[in-house]
Every structure is written in C-alpha cells, then in structure tokens.
Amino acid sequence: MRHVLWGGVALPWTEEQLQKFKDGSDPYLYPSVDWTDAVLKKNSFQTMNNLSVSGGNDIVRYYVNVGFSSQSGLFKEDPSFGFKTNSQSQRYNFRSNVDINLSKNFTVSLGLGEIVEDRNYPGTPANDIFGAIKKYSPISSPIRNPDGSFGAGNTSYEWNNPYVLVTNSGYARQFRSTTQGTVGARWDLGTLITPGLSLSGRFSYDHYYYNEVTRNKQPETKKYLGSDPDTGEDRYTVIRDETAMGYKIAGNTSNRAYYYEFQINYNRTFGKHTVGVMGLFNRRDYKDLTAGNTTANLPYRRQGWAGRLQYNYAQRYLIEFNFGYTGSENFAPGLRYGFFPAISGGWVISNENFWGDNFINHLKIRGSYGLAGNDNVGGTRFFYMSNTDRNANGYIFGSGSTQQPGMAEAQMGSPNATWEVSRKTDVGIDLEMFEGVIRMQADYFYEYRDGILLQRAQIPDIMGAPWGETPYANLGIVENQGFDGMIEIKKTHSNGLFWSLRGNVTYAVNKIIEDDTAEALWSYQNSRGTKIGQPLGYIALGLFQSQEEIDKSPKQELGAYTVGDVKYKDVNNDGVINAYDKVYLKYPRTPEIMYGFGGTIAYKGFDLTLNFVGAGHTYTFFDGDGMWPFRLDYPGYNVRREYFDNRFIPNASPEENAEAVYPVAHNGTSTNNYQTSTLYYKDASYIKLKTAEFGYNFPEEICSKIKIEALRLFINGNNLLCFDKLKFIDPESDYGTGGYPTQRALTFGLQVTF
C-alpha cells in the first residue's frame, strides 16, 4: 500500500525490483548510491606559517611580516583522471612598514603589502556540486556502469552524476593578488608655529587582480539498460559524448583604489583645560578596471571635509563637536553635498573631588546626538540621470540569424534624489570596579532614518518602467533602537593563576515607518510597523488528514490540494484561503539578539580559552529542494531525511499520520504546499562554541637556552559545538546545504618568537 504515491499512480517497480534496490544484489540496474559519501572526504588539512620581525632606532623603525598558509578541500579525487581537482588554496602574504624621521619634526612612513593566492577547484562550481547532490537521486544510476563508463540519466540534471562533476569534469585554477601601498607624512608644527599643532597627509593605493582559467571536460556518460535477453550483451544509451578538455579564461577582473587625505591637528592642554581641533579633507577614487560597461568603469568618487572640536575640563566634563560635509557623485549638482554634524558630551563622575576612594574606581556617563548620511543604494549609480541602454536586446530581421542591435530607455532618472539621513541618539555608562577586576559598559541607542532612498513602490506595472525598475525617491523612514552591553571580569591570583570571564550582548529592534507601499486592504498586511525583512506568510495549521476535513475547511485557492497537503488558517474569516490570509511572521532572518561569552584560565604556562557566540530572535525557512520532493516530476530530485521521516503517507494509519509534519509527496509541483508558511518557518537561534584553544607556553629558562624569546604549543578548534533547535542544518545557513558547508577545523600549532 505504501507504494501508492499519489492520485492512484503506482510506482513503476515491482516488489522484486524494490528488493533489489534494497539489498544491492544488482547495483548497476538497481543502484543505491550515497552521493555525499561518494564525493566528499571526512577530513582535510591546512597549515599556517607566519614570521614577523620588527625593530629600529631613533631614525628608522621597521616591521616585516611573511606568511604562508595552505588549505585543502573536501572533495574526493579520481586517481585515474590524472589532474588535481580537489579544492585547494595556497596563500602567501608579506608586509613591510617603515617609518623614517627626516628631521625632528618631520616623519615619513611607507607601508607595502601583498597577498598572493593560488586556488584549485573541480571543473564544476561548488554550488552546482552541492545542488547536484540534492537533486541526483540515489537510485538514478551507479557511479560507474559495468563497462567502467560513468552512470547517468536522461534528464539534464542527470547527464552527469555528482561523482563525475567532482572528479572528472576538469578543473579550475584561480589566481588572486592584492597589493596595498601607503605613503604618509607627518609634520609637527609645535616648535615652528605653536605647540600641539601638526599637519599630516596620507596617500594609499590598492590594487586587486583576479584570474581564473577553467579546463572543463565532459567524459562519456551512459545509461545502463541491462543485458539484451537474446544476445546477453550489455545495452547502453549514450547520454553525453566525451569532449576534449577545453581552455577558457573564466575570470579576469581587476580594480584599483586611490585614497588621499590631509589632516590638521591641534591638541593642547592649558592647566585643567584640554582642547583638540581636527580638520580633514579626503578623497577616494575606486575604479573597476575590467567593468562590463562604461558606467561601471567610471571611477567611483567621493570627497569630503570633516572636523572635530574637543574640549574637556580636568578630565571630568567632556564635550565634542563633529561634522562631516560630504559630496556624492550619485546626486544631481546642487544636491550632492550633505552636512552631518554631531555632538557628544560626557561626565566622568569618578574624577570629581567628592568621589574619593570608592570601590568604583571609574564611572562615566555619556550621551551623543548626531546625523549620518547614506548615498548608496545597491550598486545603482548616477540615479539622478536618465539614460538609455545601447546594448538592449535586438531582433533578427532578414532570413539569416544575425540580430540587429537594439536600444532602449534604461534608467528613469530621479533628479530630486539626495542623501538619506539618520539621526542617532546614544546614552551610555562606563564602569570599572576593584581597580580593573570588573569592567562594564552599557548603551541605549535610538536611530531614526529618514528620506531613505527607495524605488517608488506605488507606481503600477502599467507605466511599463524599464524592466520594472521604477525611479528612486527619498521616501522611506525606519526607526531602530536597542541596547548594547559588555562585561569583563579578570583576576590574577598571587599563586600565578589567572582567570577571566567576558560577555557581550546587542539587542536591536527596528520598525518600518514609511516604505511607499500601498495601504493594505487588511491592516495586518501593512508593511508599515513591521520589521525590515520580516516575512509575510501563511499560518499552517497542519496537514489535511481526511477528505471530510477538506470538505469542512475553508477553500484554499493556492493550488490543487488533497489529503496530506498543508492546511492553512483563514485569517480574515472570509471562507477562502488566499493572499489576504498572509500575516507577518514573528522574526526576520537577521537576529535581533547577538551575544558572546567566554573565558580564559591560565596557570603555570598552560592556558585554556573558550569563546561562545549566540543569536536569538531569528527564524529561517527550511524549504526548497529536498523538502519539496519530485517537484520536477518523479523520481527527480533527492529527498531530505528530515522530510522522509516526517512526511504524510497516503493510506497509512491515522495514528501514524498524526505525527507527520510535512505534506504528502506529489508528482510535480504543488504550489499549495510550497507557500511561504509557518510549516517551514523554524527558530534558528543558537549557541555555538565558536573557538577553543588550549596551549602551553614554555618557561623562559628553556627558551633562552635554545636562544629564542618564546615558544608556544597549542591546539585550537573552530565550530566545535552547536546548540540549536533546528538540529538538521547549520542554523546560520539558509535552505540547507546551499553551497560549501561550514567546516569544523582542529589546528595543532607551534609558535616561535625570536
């Protein structure tokens, strides 16, 4: 009975054939392959080496660092293929900083750094490989057929099995290089003009280059059809013919950035009065050298002035005024500059005379209010300008197959767009007790973002904006508030035992006040008042257990449905389930609470450090491939264990199905079951033991004997433990194993300082 899947269509296999899948007696015709195991290794290796030297005298100071690290990936290789296909990276970096005092008052500094990296990958990108593992059914084909050729199937995603993709589809070699250079000068005008005055300037240059060469290969893949009953010869259908290894420059990109700034500083103390003045001018010019179009190839430019005035009295009363006057190329002339002032003040109570000797040795109350601007909306440039697309889609006229070029209206300009402004208020307190044993910090913040640049959401489709991209306007308003806190306790005992505990937490909640969307017909669907990214979905009430239940429930207009399918709540009680029954679900994906805690204990050269991180008020959807079986018709696509173990089974006993969480399998797409709903909406909060390190520092006597300054042995681990409610996937990933998984790393290390 269980083999009846849906709508009375029986499985295309007999009991006998099913038995063969189970017992593996005919692994070629009735395969059962664990593709994850077939293509992934359990362990991989990495090494990291770092050497740095620093030193100098009154005239010159230097710092030099050289590093090398290598890491290999998780993919299995096929020795018969003859080329390296596993992912691997080798990274070299070096850096040197030199400061030279040209005269007593004039210092120049030069910093140079370079990172070079070579990487290797399988011919198929990792996302496609993990996608294939999710899609390729264990019973589709064997890894290899009886004649040694690779097993495959007829549907396009079965042309190559995951093993072929990982080990026999060729390889990709990547090269990356990052160059950084900084030259700076500082001129102390203290003796020349007035004490405390200095002038400095800095110029930096970054260059990035990336190159990828792919050498793809298609091996012959075949579907095995069994042996011919007459001749006894094996029969095959050729699925893909072998092709020679290709050569392609798959990536060749490069960019550079110039940055320069001039600064004037004045800092001086007159008795109990301390004054600070700073003025800054800066410019940045970033250019994508290999951009695909002329607009993207133009330098991205920004310039601005900033200033700061500081004053404090006896380190008790502090006041500061800041401003930024910044220009952006994204706005029309006249609207380019924004002025963003800020003011802050503090009172160090513990410095007051009346405070005296107190177990609280530092207490400070702070407050600030200021403006900040944003001119950036997701890569769109010059959105004040209207322009045309000179390479718009063309059309074939004539009897040949050559396209005539096309041109079209592209960006609809927003000539009135300008800076969006956020107003930030912060109140905080700093506290230190018992001479530094306990340190605490707490802040409350409130931010009101106004004039947020949005694409006009109320413009209807009938305007026909190019590609639906409506113009921008400063229309959005969002408020964000929260709490930020930190505590640290540390103590060294007289016997040499050291211990410390640390903790921090951030809690932030935002609210959309205006987003230019239409007023919803049902107030609970208004996006105003919701949080950014808060999902809109149906409330799943479970699964339909019987036809009677379907008959007496409100009609669902979300696609065909039957017994075993998802039942939704009629939120507005109008007797039908439709788009108006969606509600905003609890939390967005971005956690509202982030926290961390940890501690260190050290004694006699041994030390142990643990760091935990956690997140709360975060939900994710666990749906898509693997949870929606056979969405492109049976038997395509793999099924997750989580789905399989908890699915509704037609004709199973009501008791069995009462436990079912996920809907019945269908042959093809079921829009009723694929709706965004609470069924797949899962609490993704977690606590992770992110890092742990245990180490031993050799005593100085031993070190000095072998002429080194310090010697340390350690073992550390990443991603060691995770406590969460999801269980079956990493709570930080979305939709299961979308791509390369998070790796748990254990590192053994030796650190030598000369």
Binding site: N154, F262, R283, R301, R390, Y395, A518, E557
Partner: protein, 619 residues
C-alpha cells in the same frame, strides 16, 4: 623661514579646495537620453528594433516567465507538458492565483513594450530621416502597439489602454481597465493606422528586401485586426450576461451586456478585407507547393517566410524548444506531449469522424464504425510518409494533417542517435522502448505522443539547428475567421463553405457535406480550427471566447499507457490511460487574474477579474 612654511601650508589647503565640484562630475562621457536617441537615425531604428524583441517566444511551451511565455498550449486540451515546473500545470489544476500569476509576466511585459512604442511614436517625428521611412516606422509602431495590447487582451480581456507614455509624476493610479469593446476597437484602429502607413509594403519581397523580413506589414495589421474583431464578436464578449458582475469600480460594465450581431459583420468584413488585400498582392496566399499534403502542411511552418505568413518571428537557431519536442533517445527532453483527445480529433482520410464522443467515464471512445477507425490490432499495410507496417490501427488512414502534426509509436521521425544520425528512427514510446518511460528520467513522454507540427525535421539535437520562424498569424486562420464570422452573421452561405473547404482541400480532405445548418456549420468550423490551428495558440482562447471552456477544459485528459508495453505491438501500451483532471471554473477561469500586488496599489480603480478573490471589504 617660518613664513615660507606658512605659505606652503596655505598652498596645500588651497589646492585641495580647488575644483571640488568637478571632481564629482564623474558622469559617463556619452550619456544618451531618450531624446538624444531620436536625434539620430540609426539609434531611432535601433529603438524600434528593441521594441520587436518583446514579442514572445511562444515556441517555449514548457517554460514560464519573461519573454519566454506560452502557458497556453500546455494549458488547454491540446497538450500535456511533462515538465513539472511549467505554469500550464497551475492553469490545468486550477491552482493558479493572483499571487503567482507574475510567473507569466504577460501583464507587466506587455506594458513595458507598450511604453516603448508610445515613446517611439511621441518622438519619432524629431528623427532626421525621410518622411517615407518615418511613415514605415510609425506603421510598424502602430502595429506593435496593437500587438502588445492584444497579448494582454487575449489573457485579461478588459485591460487599461495606454496610448501615451507615462512619467513618474503623472497620475497613473486612476487608470482603469477599459471595457473590452473599447480595447478591441483600439487594437483594430491601431491596425488600420498601421495598414494605411504600410500600404506600400503588404509583404516583404524576399528577393529585394531580405533585411526587412520579420518587420510588420500591412497584411500583418489586417490579420491581427481580423482576429481581434472575431474575438470581440464572440459569445464571451458579445452580450455575455454571465459576466454582468464584471464591473469597473465606478459601475461601468467591462463586458458588453447586449448582444450585437453587427459585431459578427464587422469581424467578417475585417477578414474579407484581409483576404481581398492578400489576393490583390498577387503573392500572399495559402501555401500549396507540395503535392503530398502531409509535407505541404508541415512546410507551412518549416518553409520560412512563405506566402502564407502574415506575421512571424525569426527565432534564429534557438534549439531549446526543439529539444523539448524531440524524443528521449535523441538525448532530448520529450516533454511536449499532445493529449489523446487531440489525437482523437483528427479525421479519417475520407473526412469521416473516427470518434463521436466518449462514454460516461470520459475515457472510452464511442467509435464511428462507418469511418473504419479501429483501436485493436496492427496494420500490415504501409503508406509512405504516413505510417509503417506494424503500427497500431489507431494510426492508420487518418487525415494527412495527423501525420504532419503528431509523432506516435512506430512513426518514423528524424535519424537515430544510435546510428550517428544517419538511419531513420522509428519512435518507441512504450515503456521499455528507447523513447519510453522506463528509459527516461523525470523528463519523459507523458502521453505516448510528441508534437511534430511546427518542429523542424532537419534538426540534429545539440549539433545542428536551422534558422527557424515562429508563425503568429497566417492566412489560413483568416479563412476560418471569415467562415466563422460570416456563418454567425448570415448562416452557412456558399462563401462560408468556400472558405472552410479551401482549408480542407489544401489539407487533402474533401469538402464539407452540403446542407449543414448554421449550428452544424458552427461545430464544423470549431472542429476545423482545433485541427488546422492546433498548437498555434488558438485553442486556449477559442474555447474561452466560444464559452465552451467549461466543458472542454473541465475534465480529465488521457494518454496511452506509457508505464506498460515491451514492443511496438504490445497491446498493453495502447490502453487509454488517465493522465490528470483538468479544472475550469466559470466565470473565474475565463480571464487571467491580475497580479495581487498590482491590485493592491490601487484597489479603488483597478478591479480584479471575476472570480479571483475580490474581497468586498477590508477590516
């Protein structure tokens, strides 16, 4: 010394302050505004070229979304598409809704194209070129404006009419759906404007104007006008009191509530004008070049730019849709599967009807014994280019268009991959056959049939694809438009007979029997359209405008038993088998639902199509 330093200091600060505004003037060197485009002849031409690019690739029957939209062929009783993600499944199982209709993009893309046309028409007069060229371009633009309105109209019925382009600051929230009559009239009027402007180019002469092939012509305009006026005269739009609730928010009926016979007259006249003008060209006529009616019928679609074509798209060497139509053993997807009902609709070679209907189970055919049609046994005979010896009797002695339109088990199609594309391939759709379910993945032939009509037989999958055309409007349709409209207006006159018989004779079939009543003639014309225009995106709209859809589209479709059969002559395969239920709810499914988000922007002005969740009140 001190002074010099001070001077240097001022100099540095001064230099930074210079030309700060210019630093941010980092605009592209040659920004072309839309107005600049129309100051240049080539750019203006390219702008028009781009507007053509929005005409859909209807050959993609399996894929939804974007400019690749054709949910219609798989969404009616002609075809079942084995690809699970095709939008036609939503239409067929009744599961489509205002929240997922955006997968088809028919509404937004039509208006994106219309905006461009209106922009073109508003600005083309500025273009420095001859009046002659401008007139041609304008003629094409008027045709395209009519065409893009029609693409939305055929799905949504009453739609907003846009005869100018909108600026962001314009009031556009209050633009309403126009009554269907006005929409049709607007389309017909634009067609007449195009006709007048393109009169000197009724068709594109291949010898002298090859580069203009594919451009709109005056004949294309007349063809579209004939179609839209036929639609608006049809029962769905003409005095359809079932649609009395389809009102604008201000109470205006969007579908005419009083039947007007003169609309049939207008439709007949429009078709007549098109046929007369075709005759006057001396070139445009029914394709009739091959003596074998099977080959001839195939070649209407495979001989590019022939004399029957009024409006078509050059789809180049795009072969994805060919792969969708070719069998598994070619390494192809095999997912465009005509239903058993479509197969049953083809007549016998003598014009008799093989199947008169179905028994109560909807599956068992009521066979017309006189026709000689049989479902049992296999034939010893063969007929070149029609059937091979050994095939099921179901596929013997059918009308020529059957052999040109349907690939069935035992039919010869293309060359086999096994022979490296040299030997003819005989199709094997039974379960263990090389093209059968047992050898397929999740793409497979779901009904035991593949579409043959429209498909280019010279394609070698993944290796060779010829330049192809996709025909939107051809003269054959106009004959049937004329016959239908005239029969409705004045009954089965000689002109009606002549028009239908012209199509039948060309297809190798005898004349219709004389003495038919108006109703009998109506049924004959409906049947003729179903067969002659199969897979050309007529059936979906025809059954709706005739208001037949609640019968034809609201029942299961059937196939051969693809799960069974081990050889060509295994009777187990030739068992009629249930594929799926099809759902059609009236009045809901007569018109597409408007995307919910579009309604939400302005519910006080834009009404939802009837039956699609129009909440009467919020909370």
């Amino acid at each position: 010394m001190k002074r010099i330093y001070r001077f240097l200091l001022l100099l540095t600060l001064g230099a930074t302050a210079v030309s700060c505004e210019a630093y941010l003037d980092m605009t592209p060197d040659e920004v072309l505004t839309v107005d600049d485009v129309f100051n240049n002849r080539i750019y203006t031409r390219n702008f028009l070229t781009h507007i053509y690019s929005w005409t859909p690739s209807e050959c993609n029957m399996a894929d939804d979304g974007g400019a690749w939209r054709n949910p219609y062929t798989g969404g009616c009783d002609e075809m079942e598409i084995a690809y699970g993600a095709a939008y036609s499944h939503q239409i067929n199982n009744g599961g489509w809704s205002p929240s997922d209709i955006s997968r088809t993009q028919i509404w937004p893309e039509s208006y994106m194209a219309i905006r461009k046309v209106n922009m073109f028409l508003a600005k083309v007069d500025n273009c420095p070129t001859s009046q002659d060229e401008k007139d041609h371009w304008k003629g094409e633009a008027y045709f395209l404006r009519a065409w893009y309105h029609f693409l939305a109209f055929r799905a949504y019925g009453p739609i907003p009419i846009l005869d100018h382009y909108l600026n962001p600051e314009d009031d556009m929230l209050s633009i309403r759906r126009a009554p269907a009559d006005q929409v049709a009239q607007f389309i017909a009027d634009d067609c007449m404007r195009a006709y007048e402007l393109l009169k000197d180019r009724p068709y594109v002469d291949h010898a002298t104007q090859d580069g203009d092939i594919g451009r709109a012509t005056s004949m294309a305009a007349l063809g579209l006008r004939s179609r839209v006026l036929l639609y608006i005269a049809s029962p769905l739009y003409n005095g359809n009191t079932d649609m009395s609730m389809f009102l604008d928010t201000d109470g205006t009926p969007l579908i005419s509530q009083v039947e007007d016979a003169e609309k049939w007259k207008a439709a007949a006249d429009a078709a007549k004008l098109c046929l007369d003008e075709a005759a006057a060209t001396g070139y445009v006529k029914l394709y009739d070049r091959d003596s074998d009616p099977v080959t001839n019928y195939q070649n209407i679609f495979n001989q590019n730019w022939n004399e029957e074509i009024l409006w078509a798209k050059n789809i180049g060497t795009y072969d994805h849709w060919e792969n969708c139509a070719n069998p598994i053993s070619f390494g192809c997807f095999s997912i465009l599967n005509p239903t058993q009902e479509m197969v049953d609709a083809y007549e016998m070679s003598d014009g008799s009807t093989p199947i008169l209907g179905y028994e109560d189970n909807g599956m068992t055919p009521i066979i017309n014994a006189e026709s000689g049609y049989r479902e049992d046994g296999f034939t010893d005979t063969s007929y070149p280019n029609r059937w091979e010896a050994g095939v099921s009797n179901m596929y013997v002695n059918r009308e020529p268009r059957f052999y040109a339109s349907i690939n069935f088990s035992g039919a010869i199609w293309g060359k086999s991959r096994e022979s490296n594309w040299t030997e003819p391939h005989q199709l094997e759709f039974w379960s263990t056959g090389v093209d059968g379910k047992n050898n397929a993945g999740s793409d497979y032939c779901k009904t035991g049939y593949l579409i043959k009509k429209l498909i280019y037989p010279t394609v070698v999958p993944f290796q060779f694809c010829p330049v192809q055309q996709w025909v939107y409007i051809r003269l054959g349709e106009i004959y049937l438009n004329y016959a239908e409209a005239l029969n409705e207006y004045s009954g089965p006159t000689t002109e009606v007979y002549d028009a239908v018989n012209a199509i039948r004779n060309r297809a190798g079939l005898p004349d219709l029997p004389s003495g038919l009543s108006k109703e009998e003639m109506r049924d004959r014309i409906k049947h003729e359209r179903r067969v002659e225009l199969a897979f050309e995106l007529h059936r979906f709209f025809d059954v709706r405008r005739w208001k037949d859809a609640e019968n034809t589209e609201n029942k299961p479709v059937h196939s051969m038993n693809i799960m069974a059969g081990t050889s060509l002559q295994d009777p187990a395969f030739y068992q009629r088998t249930y594929v799926e239920d099809r759902v059609f709810e009236a009045p809901k499914h007569y018109f597409f639902p408007v995307d919910q988000t579009e309604i939400d922007k302005r519910p006080q002005y834009l009404v939802q199509s009837p039956g699609w969740t129009t909440p009467t009140s919020g909370d």
